[in-house]
């Protein structure tokens, strides 16, 4: 490898340097790692602006809501007290891919951030199938601008309180606002067009004379029958049972005005936008961490960064990928950076220098030699759950000393059900994978029935899995939001998914 001159020395940086660093990183990323990325846009911001961005769930543009203010004052206090440092970067899944980098960062940190965000996350956003399927990178910023302006307009027209309580309700239902499997539905505006066209047709062909015609008794009977048919038709239009509660309410809640439906739709789209990120957090961070690790090492090998910079980088890197053990003070679940990075390094090891065990477990990739190509495929085609299920190796399970604990409601003690040994590998892997399966981790709530003509009651059902009920107090408060949106009484069952036994039955009326 050619020896090149140092990109920088010391910690100072300027805008030209950022450009040089970007170009050097790009050379490695595109030519050696063969990454495929959106155009990059780096934006330098201050720590205060970083706090702002935090509060708006990481988005550069966001409508206004008190909950973002709450997040802001919280982060501000933690930051001022020194309890928590700010992220070095924030990256937006958009085209061009916008990375925010802080002015306080040293030159090494900026290099790391460019490799991590502008190439690591960027590649993942552009190639992972979930992002490709569910989000439109080129439209994100437009969509957010629209949402912001629309909500500001609503606040002006209908008052702060009305918009605020509507958003409260919509935010409460965000986890129930994503389509998990169904193809994209017809957009609300297209539906409205259809309704409008039909109404116009009826108005245009209206003839008052028809009203004066005498009706035979049979046809009166027919009218009643028609009405029944109408109800039947409407019920089929509801597409019950329906998983996406937010979309259902936006489309069918009887009392909502058009602007309220649109606000619900905006929040639903936002929830859908974040859904791929929530499903791929570990992989996404692992991918970015792996890429920055590769790039920084290669920069060092090429002589483009010096030893001081490399040590500074390693110091930060090891802090990011540390995984405290379950009984240490700092433990707060699996560290997505640590697991993701470790798995990807492990795949690299399997591809390049496999053991006998690896050949047994991963016959397709063991010893294939081209680790980066294998990883690129994994980044494109898997999500956290399937990635763990496919690639977690016995070697890594031993290294991380994973074990499985199960806690049954019926028993007073927890039992260790599997450890990192021959008999436990499969079970460990299966359970760790299901920890990343959002559809298993989040309560499954569906709309069972909605009476649009009679008492107008909405019926929801929580499909209880493994005896996991909803937390009572929050259920009550969230149900109130549902009832307020629906406008009439709402009932919720909690029934066991397998046996169909109803455990709980719960009723709420709207309270303005």
């Amino acid at each position: 490898m050619a020896n090149r001159s140092l990109l920088y020395t010391g910690s100072e940086w300027d805008f030209d340097l950022l450009r040089h660093v970007h170009d050097a990183v790009e050379e490695i990323a595109v030519e050696e790692l063969e990454l495929d990325v959106y155009r990059n846009q780096l934006e330098v911001i201050t720590s205060e602006q970083m706090l702002d961005a935090y509060a708006a769930i990481g988005m550069p543009l966001m409508y206004r809501h008190w909950s973002f203010g709450k997040r802001f004052v919280r982060e501000e206090l933690l930051y001022r007290k020194g309890a928590q440092s700010l992220a070095y970067e924030l990256v937006i899944n958009s085209d061009p891919c916008v990375s925010y980098i802080m002015e306080e960062n040293t030159a090494t940190m900026q290099t790391l951030v460019i490799a991590h965000a502008a190439f690591g996350h960027n590649h993942f956003f552009k190639n992972n199938h979930l992002f490709r399927q569910w989000t439109r990178a080129d439209r994100v910023l437009d969509e957010l601008t629209y949402a912001k302006n629309y909500l500001a307009e609503c606040e002006e027209r209908y008052g702060f309180e009305a918009v605020e309580s509507l958003l409260d309700a919509a935010h409460a239902l965000m986890p129930q606002g994503v389509d998990r499997y169904a193809p994209k539905r017809q957009s609300a505006s297209a539906k409205q067009e259809k309704v409008k066209a039909r109404r116009e047709h009826l108005e245009a062909t209206y003839n008052d004379l028809y009203r004066t015609l005498p009706t035979a008794p049979e046809s009166r009977h027919q009218a009643a029958k028609d009405e029944e048919n109408d109800i039947e038709l409407e019920r089929t239009a509801l597409e019950l049972p329906q998983d996406n509660l937010l979309a259902f309410l936006a489309a069918h809640a009887p009392k909502l005005k058009d602007w309220q439906r649109e606000v619900l739709e905006i929040v639903r789209r936002l929830a859908q936008y974040f859904y791929p990120q929530r499903q791929t957090k570990m992989m996404n961070e692992g991918c970015a961490t792996f890429i920055h690790y590769e790039i920084m090492n290669r920069l060092y090998e090429r002589g483009q960064i010096d030893e001081g910079a490399m040590l500074e980088f390693l110091h930060m890197h090891s802090a990011v990928v540390s995984q405290p053990s379950y009984d240490s003070r700092g433990f707060s679940g699996m560290n997505p950076y640590a697991l993701g990075f470790a798995m990807m390094r492990d795949i690299q090891r399997i591809c390049e220098s496999p053991t006998k065990e690896d050949h047994d477990w991963f016959p397709e990739i063991a010893g294939s030699g081209d680790a980066i190509a294998t990883l690129r495929t994994a980044w494109a085609e898997y999500r956290d759950e399937s990635f763990v299920l496919q690639f977690l190796s016995p070697h890594l399970m031993r290294e991380m000393r994973l074990f499985l604990v199960s806690s049954r409601a019926s028993s007073a003690v927890m039992t260790v059900d599997a450890i990192h040994d021959e008999s436990g590998y499969h079970e460990l892997r299966r359970h760790l994978a299901s920890q990343y399966d959002l559809s298993k981790q989040e309560p499954h709530i569906e709309v069972l029935d909605a009476d649009l003509k009679g008492n107008r009651r909405l019926v929801l059902n929580h499909r209880v899995r493994d005896g996991k009920f909803l937390e009572k107090e929050q259920r009550l408060r969230t149900m109130r939001h549902v009832a307020n949106l629906w406008g009439y009484r709402v009932r919720m069952f909690e029934t066991d998914e397998e046996t169909g036994v109803t455990f709980d039955d719960f009723d709420t009326v709207p309270m303005p």
Partner: protein, 424 residues
């Protein structure tokens, strides 16, 4: 690839969100502010105030699993001694073992954050007011306010608006085709080149061009009188109510440093309150020992003076100032008197007479604050003497401050909006 410097962008993008948050939590924050001012120093008000409120009302509810119920499995890292089938006692509460999936804000009882000193004072002074301000000659009392009113073609030189002027100058120069300096320089260098090359025809052409350009530059001036624009201001009359606050402080020898400090804190708070809420409030500072004198703000707060106590001297001084400068029909007059309650016995009849017959009829509101040690609460000469005044005059009230921490609440009591005020 673009690098964009966003550091100059407006910082407080979250201001709107913050305001929405504060408005929603209004009631809680007001309570928290009341709690937090106990035992706080006025000097503390300079910086931000950390307050904490009950987090229950801040929760954003969602449907989620109850962490205590049901069967659950979790994979954990860092096994040391466990083997298959080992039994582990369940932890008492659902902490530590990282069952995952519990949303934020669940485990906190209190939500702490920082209010800026401005926000803090807003909450603190929120329901305070100067009582009975509705006074006299409201319509006739107008004060002119200067507001911007666009641009005009003439005006005083110091009001010349450079931006507007240069904008017009530039458009006129473009419209009339005034050659730019750089263009001339370019031609000049071309001319020199042509002369060096010996290209006479070209040189002549450029010379002609240059001379016509110079003529044009002469004819079209860089800055013409028609370009000039001046900022214009208009006087707009604004009705105001005028009020004056008399601060009377006893600085006699019986007032120890601690007591003076207490009194000064009270006045500082008063000062802060009036300056924030009322534009047209004047303050008159009078301090007295056995004689009284009107002093400026600085001397009042920082001066050292000592001697015997004759309260009536201060009241006399106040009456004199009113007569000289604040005609009763035009001014709302307020007074706050702070003292340790000592007065020479022979002075009491005169003090009471001055107060009841001269001052209280002129005043909208008169507040007496007794700063004292708690040895004889409510037993001082002035306190006793003023007891009879309270019954006869609605616009008189008094309060006692023993510790610095009480100042906020006493202040609150004395200046609470209608109906909340406690007499006595």
């Amino acid at each position: 690839m673009h690098v964009i410097d966003r550091r100059k962008n407006p910082k407080s993008k979250s201001l709107g969100n913050r305001q929405r948050f504060l408005r929603r939590m209004n009631w809680h924050i007001r309570e928290a502010v009341k709690q937090s001012i106990r035992g706080r120093d006025i000097a503390d008000l300079e910086g931000g105030q950390e307050i904490s409120i009950d987090s229950k009302d801040l929760q954003e509810p969602t449907f989620h699993h109850d962490g205590q119920k049901g069967d659950r499995e979790f994979v954990l890292p860092g096994n040391r001694e466990y083997r298959l089938g080992d039994k582990i006692p369940k932890p008492k509460s659902d902490g530590g073992s990282g069952s995952g999936g519990s949303p934020d804000g669940d485990s906190e009882d209190d939500f702490a954050f920082v209010l800026s000193s401005d926000e803090f004072l807003n909450y603190f002074f929120e329901d305070l007011e100067l009582p009975n301000l509705a006074k006299k000659k409201l319509k006739s009392m107008v004060s002119p306010a200067r507001v911007r009113a666009g641009y005009s073609k003439d005006g005083a030189p110091q009001r010349m608006n450079l931006k507007q002027t240069m904008r017009r100058s530039l458009s006129r120069r473009i419209a009339l085709g005034r050659p730019s300096k750089s263009e001339c320089e370019r031609l000049q260098s071309e001319l020199e080149e042509a002369i060096q090359c010996g290209n006479e025809a070209e040189a002549d052409r450029i010379r002609d061009l240059l001379s016509s350009m110079r003529v044009r530059m002469q004819r079209v001036p860089f800055l013409d009188t028609v370009d000039l624009r001046y900022s214009r201001f208009e006087q707009i009359p604004r009705p105001t109510t005028q009020a004056v606050m008399f601060c009377l402080m006893d600085t006699s020898a019986s007032m120890t440093e601690d007591l003076k400090d207490l009194a000064k804190r009270f006045y500082m708070l008063l000062h802060l309150f009036l300056k924030r809420h009322y534009r047209a409030v004047e303050m008159v500072f009078i301090r007295h020992t056995y004689t009284a004198a009107e002093v400026d703000e600085d001397t009042f707060f920082h001066g050292r003076d000592s001697g015997g106590t004759i309260v009536s001297s201060a009241l006399e001084e106040m009456v004199n100032v009113i007569k000289a400068r604040y005609p009763v029909e035009d001014w709302n007059i307020y007074a706050a008197q702070a003292s340790d309650g000592h007065n020479f016995d022979y002075d009491m009849p005169l003090t009471l007479q001055l107060l009841e017959q001269e001052i209280l009829p002129l005043c909208q509101y008169y507040a007496y604050i007794e700063v004292g040690d708690d040895i004889f609460p409510g037993g001082s000469v002035l306190w006793e003497g003023y007891t009879s005044v309270i019954q006869r005059h609605k616009n008189f009230s008094r309060a006692e401050v023993i510790e610095a921490s009480e100042i906020f609440s006493v202040f609150h009591d004395l200046f609470a909006s209608d109906g909340v005020r406690s007499h006595g």
